[in-house]
Symmetry: C3
Amino acid sequence: MTAHALPAPAAALYEAIAGLPIISPHGHCDPAWFADDMPFPDPASLLILPDHYLFRMLYSQGVALADLGLGVPPDQRDPRAIFRVFADHWHLFLGTPTRGWLEHTLQRTLGIETELSPDTADAVFDQIDATLKRPEWRPRAAFVTMNIARLATTDAALDPLSAHQGAAQDWPGRILPTFRPDDILNPARPGHADRLRTLSQMTGADCAAYDGFLDAIRARRAAFRALGATATDHDVPDLMTLWLPRPEIETLHARAWAGDLSAQDAAHYYGHMLTEMAQMSAEDGLVMQIHAGSRRSTNHALLDALGPDMGADIPVAMDWTRGLEALLNRVGNDPRFRLLVFTLDESAYARELAPMAGHWPCLRLGPPWWFHDSVNGIRRYFDRVVETAGYFNLAGFNDDTRAFLSIPARHDMWRRGVALHLADQVDRGLLGAADAARLAPWLAHDAAVQAYRLADAA
Amino acid sequence: MTAHALPAPAAALYEAIAGLPIISPHGHCDPAWFADDMPFPDPASLLILPDHYLFRMLYSQGVALADLGLGVPPDQRDPRAIFRVFADHWHLFLGTPTRGWLEHTLQRTLGIETELSPDTADAVFDQIDATLKRPEWRPRAAFVTMNIARLATTDAALDPLSAHQGAAQDWPGRILPTFRPDDILNPARPGHADRLRTLSQMTGADCAAYDGFLDAIRARRAAFRALGATATDHDVPDLMTLWLPRPEIETLHARAWAGDLSAQDAAHYYGHMLTEMAQMSAEDGLVMQIHAGSRRSTNHALLDALGPDMGADIPVAMDWTRGLEALLNRVGNDPRFRLLVFTLDESAYARELAPMAGHWPCLRLGPPWWFHDSVNGIRRYFDRVVETAGYFNLAGFNDDTRAFLSIPARHDMWRRGVALHLADQVDRGLLGAADAARLAPWLAHDAAVQAYRLADAA
Amino acid sequence: MTAHALPAPAAALYEAIAGLPIISPHGHCDPAWFADDMPFPDPASLLILPDHYLFRMLYSQGVALADLGLGVPPDQRDPRAIFRVFADHWHLFLGTPTRGWLEHTLQRTLGIETELSPDTADAVFDQIDATLKRPEWRPRAAFVTMNIARLATTDAALDPLSAHQGAAQDWPGRILPTFRPDDILNPARPGHADRLRTLSQMTGADCAAYDGFLDAIRARRAAFRALGATATDHDVPDLMTLWLPRPEIETLHARAWAGDLSAQDAAHYYGHMLTEMAQMSAEDGLVMQIHAGSRRSTNHALLDALGPDMGADIPVAMDWTRGLEALLNRVGNDPRFRLLVFTLDESAYARELAPMAGHWPCLRLGPPWWFHDSVNGIRRYFDRVVETAGYFNLAGFNDDTRAFLSIPARHDMWRRGVALHLADQVDRGLLGAADAARLAPWLAHDAAVQAYRLADAA
């Protein structure tokens, strides 16, 4: 990326926004890094092992995951050998955002001048390693160096939030938790009934009763808000929302408590609970996020051997129109409610999501998610959503990453994508140059602040 | 739009077609305007209130529909205040076709030189108001001023067509009705059984019997044709066509007459009736239009309070291949039959509709519909359909609007889209410049005349 | 095509690959041509009659198929008259790849200088006819003239392969068979049970028993491999794969042998057999191809009158994620297994196929298939798959054609598409020029060799 210049009109728009502070309102960094502020570990553990974008590509070309340290006990891993395996396959990433992100991270963020190749694996490894040991690359200092203003993590409902408390104590206002309650809402998740009991203990509410369960959830939401949370998040495999009559949901809850729901009843229960969460969001102001359409862990052998998140999550087609209908009809006209949605099914951009966002007052469209968070993915997103939803029903950008050092790279790719899109619109006579210049910083920065209500955050 | 020039090669193609007469073979203008030729009302009532593109966007950003006069009795509306609310939110439309259309309408069509903004709301309102009071902006004069050659409206099967008769009397050959019989064909529509009785009274046929019902429909089609109609139109929520054995459809019809069909039987009945309509089209030459895939009134609170068409119609995925199979196998090889289809599911363009149009002799592809009637939507349409369907299986353009004054703007956007597409094809080596120059006027004008058989019209 | 130049940066990339030898690893040419090496027949029989791209378009515009010789006994056809009908409708193909292919074939491949038009039909016919009678346009010589290195045909499991034996005898190593066993695997195909008996006779195995049936299939695969086959191919209408317990599949097989399976059981049986084929591919190294999503012969009148392949095959939406799950979980992690997939549902490119190819070690994405094998189809393909799958999970190009003389044209269109894509990536800052120059020949030539394991072929 860094070696290649943008065409001239896009370049001017890009230059004006490239240096704006980074708002990262949704992602998966570890809050403990900022509580402890301990140095990051070796390059492989930081850059390779947690990045499923990277290791899925290597696996697709026959590299054994064990050669990348996955499933290997940490004390038996050889970070340098792992980095060599990765460098040997660097060409596989040509044309992918992964390559752009990593080039940006190494060259622009960390200042490594040696270009990565099979021949330079050791040299680059050593340079990264030396860099990470410098005090300015400790987590809190890196946060500042990388020009990040706010960073939200994603945290289970039962998370005690001690890391967030730690960071807030002497380094407040930077790291926000996000309330992700699927573990206690979706009975299809293994261990669900046990977690309801833990939730009772944690909150003192009687979660065997439906009312007590709702109270317990409200208590957890309040705890998250107290530490700066402005949003919730849901990972929904098959989108269906419902609003069930009270006796029916109470019956289902009793059976969920007993761990005794059929697959279909579990789906109905979860569909109703999503609508309950929308109602609670209208009440307490937490922005609701729905990420829908990822079929998780489709490679069962990898799941059994190594667990989830091994690169085998594959999207499926999604019906947003009917899927959200119950939730929206229950809460969607409430001016207090805010819902951000993320799709892996791009065919829904123009067909469903842009028309919905251009109508429902609660709805904002999240940026391109996951496989679509890429230069061409961003182009397709703008192409398909803007004409129906406008710009002001968009939620700006979020990086959604667990790779902390790649955050500037990912926001940079978005900002380049914004510049390329706006320049193309001007070129084709759809937008004036002055309007494009005003929209660029909004899309790069302000939209996310507004969508996630971060201006109101503590 | 108007301030921004097209790139040079597209500009030349555009200039050659910008002034062609406008053929508007499908839309929703009120024929009474042209029968009565009374001046148009105030700017808000003409430009804001009937335009769901406009008020859905404002609603999506928290503007109350009552502030736009919706649900407010006409005598309690303040047109100037409504226009101010709209002008205050003008920035929301950046990047949307709505903005392009309105800019064109104000500046190019009405000659308003003041640029719309929150500060100029009153001035622009006054200028529009003064313009509309001038004789040359009475409906018939405006029709001529705007260079319209033919305008088709859309009219229910039970419409007495008195407005069309009024216009035809002393101003013939301009305004054509279109036969839209869903109200008497689709039992899922409230009041269906009552309308069958009205149809009996209107035609003298015994609609309790299936044969009488078919005769009554033929009578209404003949009445429409007598006033210049060349086409029918269907609004199909979930596409399914069938051909049922005679005893079965007679039984279903008896139950439809009695208002006693299950939802599934109603769908089967309607699916069969669509095929009957195709057969009648083969017989009487009326071009059949199917607009499929809009889930209507998904916001139930708005439907209850304000009725349909409040901006909450949202598309769903459509299966054209299987959905049209029964109809096409019954009538699709008949050289007399012509079917135009319109989709809100762009994924069907290249997957289903272009391959179907490139095979079935009856089939022509309608232009991008509704949310896809936009500069980038037009680009996607050409990109996905031409290589398989060619240009000559396309139906040209129709504006599908109820906003009369926006008709030149909408055709202008199509013509710009045609120019941009053809210039891009030439640039990429896919088309010679001479062929592009020949195709431009065909796409801008001739294709619609041919598709709708307007050359044969009275 | 030939008259129009590519933009400069793409032109340089194109020039470097335009002359590379042609690898044609999947198509439908007749191997008998190369066994017999008899002159090709007249222009119409060679260029018009076998090309459903051509006659489907003419049929869509009202040309009777009989006027093109379809359904007419060969001795009653008038090739010159057929060619005139085609030339009269040449304008219908503007903007289609068919036009580009035929222009290339006539001008560049056959050296016909007269431009095709209604007026020149006879002259062009005569020039083609004269050309085809020259010795350098006999099949084997044409193969060399056209710079083809390898050509794979597609052959039914029961094909005795005598043509391949004939060609191999004195002209070895050019023509390879491909094992297409759907006729003996899919009970939904008419005559399935009879063919199982033929298979028994052909192989000596007892196909009434499931084990014997598997042995017979293995024997046929070995026979294909002995003549150079490196791949199998499946035409799957509705994608579903399964792995059934042994007693269950044995029961289904017994009923398949008896010709007594319900539609659903037939689908389950076929879904299981696809997984068996994947296992055999892991064992014997034949690359497995799946072409899924074409609904065959949707025009029943044409099917009854003229048989299949009359231009009425229409795509339907496909669920690749769930459809391949059973097969991939059974064999997909096996390093010996290679699976190439082809879709007619482009919405699956970015949503399903690229994510799957970027994970499963067995999977490579086939090039744009059929209606999507076009300049813009190729652009959409690269746009949607590269960022997630990279370049090295792609299978290069195959022409999939039965129109032998169009092979150079089709590969030329791919190579232009490759050049346009790579130049655009460089222009937008996503790829360095040196990387683009390295990727071009890989995409034009090497990828197909690797994907189809042709370097290992005899």
